[in-house]
């Protein structure tokens, strides 16, 4: 009778600390993927504009587009997605508005850059308007993800104004990482050393931010403390240490530090980008996985 997920739910409901599973298991992985891809898409758009790196603009558009698809795949009723296209107090609908601004207008901005014969040039006012709207969408994408989690009052570990800041840092870092990863394939004369320094700086910032976040959340309430314990030495610790800390922070920082001793090859830069992206995904995964509902009954000490 019944199924594994049903038995799991009953076990969860009876537990003192009920883990959230909807946003991280099964189709929940699409949501994590969607947040990951849309974040690096926004970050790559930002830095590609900064570095005047055309391939990065294209990659940013593709990443954000795939992120949008992943978001839709997560929904229980994706055919009703258009109902979210209304500015409300919900950060999900704000994020949907952001993606809906970014995708079409970044596409229109990209067209004359890659396809000759388009009726408008990239220097025209029309193109600048497309760029402006795409940047507006990009800014919304930067801020919405962390706020979606932070608005979840049932999960104390996420319910913090620090989380959106952490997600913005990771989105910026993911953007640089995507650009670095693309370098060996595009052969572009981008200032790769500059990008590597930015990547290193953001990686160190992300490490500091994560430690700061965990430190703060460990002292808020019993559920958030339990989430931190799960990350540090519990059910999520394997993914956290291996993916978020090891692959995502330690390896890129060490590789980046080599750059201070000798110039980095494009291959090493790409490796830094790759490991950073893997770490970015794991950061989102482990933060979501560590989410625990607030206990309703008193919790015994010890």
């Amino acid at each position: 009778m019944a199924t594994n997920s049903y038995d799991q739910l009953l076990a969860d409901l009876g537990a003192t600390f009920r883990p959230q599973r909807e946003w991280v298991e099964g189709r929940g992985l699409y949501l994590i993927t969607g947040h990951f891809l849309s974040g690096i898409g926004a970050g790559a758009w930002f830095f590609s504009l900064l570095f005047h790196y055309r391939p990065g603009l294209l990659l940013a558009f593709l990443a954000a587009g795939l992120g949008g698809v992943a978001h839709l795949l997560f929904l229980g009723r994706p055919e009703r997605f258009w109902r979210m296209l209304k500015i409300r107090r919900s950060w999900i609908s704000r994020g949907f508005v952001g993606i809906s601004l970014f995708l079409p207008f970044s596409f229109l901005y990209l067209l004359p850059l890659f396809i000759p014969g388009i009726p408008w040039s990239s220097e025209e006012a029309l193109s600048r308007a497309f760029l402006l709207l795409s940047v507006l969408g990009m800014l919304i994408i930067f801020v919405y993800k962390g706020n979606v989690y932070a608005a979840s009052r049932g999960i104390p570990f996420w319910n913090s104004p620090l989380l959106p800041v952490l997600y913005i840092v990771y989105a910026l870092r993911g953007g640089v990482a995507l650009i670095l990863l693309s370098l060996p394939f595009t052969g572009n004369s981008l200032n790769s050393e500059g990008a590597a320094i930015i990547e290193l700086w953001i990686a160190v910032s992300a490490a500091v931010m994560i430690l700061f976040y965990l430190g703060v959340m460990a002292n808020t309430n019993v559920a958030a403390r339990r989430s931190v314990t799960d990350l540090a030495r519990g059910r999520v610790s394997g993914s956290f240490y291996l993916g978020t800390v090891g692959i995502g922070l330690v390896v890129p920082i060490l590789l980046g530090a080599i750059g201070y001793l000798s110039p980095l090859s494009q291959l090493i830069l790409a490796a830094i980008g790759f490991f950073s992206l893997v770490g970015d995904f794991f950061a989102k995964y482990t933060i979501a996985k560590a989410g625990i509902y607030m206990p309703l009954l008193p919790v015994e000490r010890g």
């Binding site: 009723r77 009703r80 979210m84 049932g154 999960i155």
Partner: protein, 201 residues
């Protein structure tokens, strides 16, 4: 008018009658429990006690689930009842993350209680009313309220531990019980202003 419920923890015997009567009334699929009883052992032998807490949607006056809904599917009806419009819900489950009381459930499919054996006639009848891929929750048995009846969990509680009524009417039974017995909502510090109160055991 503000509908509310009072649950007397002195009278509640933890029989799961509310949970089962709710299941019977709504015919909800597996994994969806509009009403449930949470039990927990506390202490260590020989000083052990079993505590239990009947739970349902608290129909908060400041519902965090409504604020996070991207489509307006989660909304507050007249009388303060927090409800979900299944035709508007996209199944993003943000409301489940926002509800501090874990009162919402995702109906991912109509898998039924006996997988591989099809639906019982009872399931087949009731599942027609429930949309798959959306979030579901207690609505204080709105269809019964409209007929002048109490919610099913109230009517079927064998120890009469539950009382339903108007919280804004100072003369109502629920208001009297809260006043005289010191009723309090669960986790009032969250500021959600629930419409379900508990009387101390």
């Amino acid at each position: 008018m503000r509908y509310g419920m009072v649950i007397d923890l002195r009278k509640c015997v933890g029989c799961y009658g509310c949970q089962l009567s709710c299941k019977a009334e709504h015919g909800t699929p597996p994994g969806v429990l509009f009403a449930r009883v949470q039990k927990q052992e506390m202490g260590t032998y020989p000083s052990v006690r079993l505590i239990f807490l009947p739970l349902l949607c608290f129909h908060c006056q400041e519902p965090p689930c409504v604020d996070v809904c991207p489509t307006g599917a989660s909304h507050q009806r007249e009388g303060g009842i927090v409800d979900i419009d299944a035709d508007l819900c996209v199944g993003c489950r943000a409301c489940m993350m926002a509800c501090p009381y874990g009162a919402r459930y995702y109906n991912d499919d109509h898998r039924g209680y006996f997988p591989g054996q099809g639906y019982t006639p009872y399931e087949a009848l009731h599942y027609q009313k429930h949309t798959a891929g959306v979030v579901m929750k207690c609505n204080f048995c709105l269809h019964r309220i409209k007929e002048g009846l109490d919610p099913a969990c109230v009517s079927n509680c064998p120890s009469r531990a539950r009382t339903f009524g108007d919280l804004e009417d100072p003369e109502s039974e629920v208001s009297r019980l809260i006043r005289e017995r010191g009723g309090a909502p669960l986790h009032p510090e969250l500021g959600t202003r629930p419409s379900v109160y508990y009387l101390p055991p």
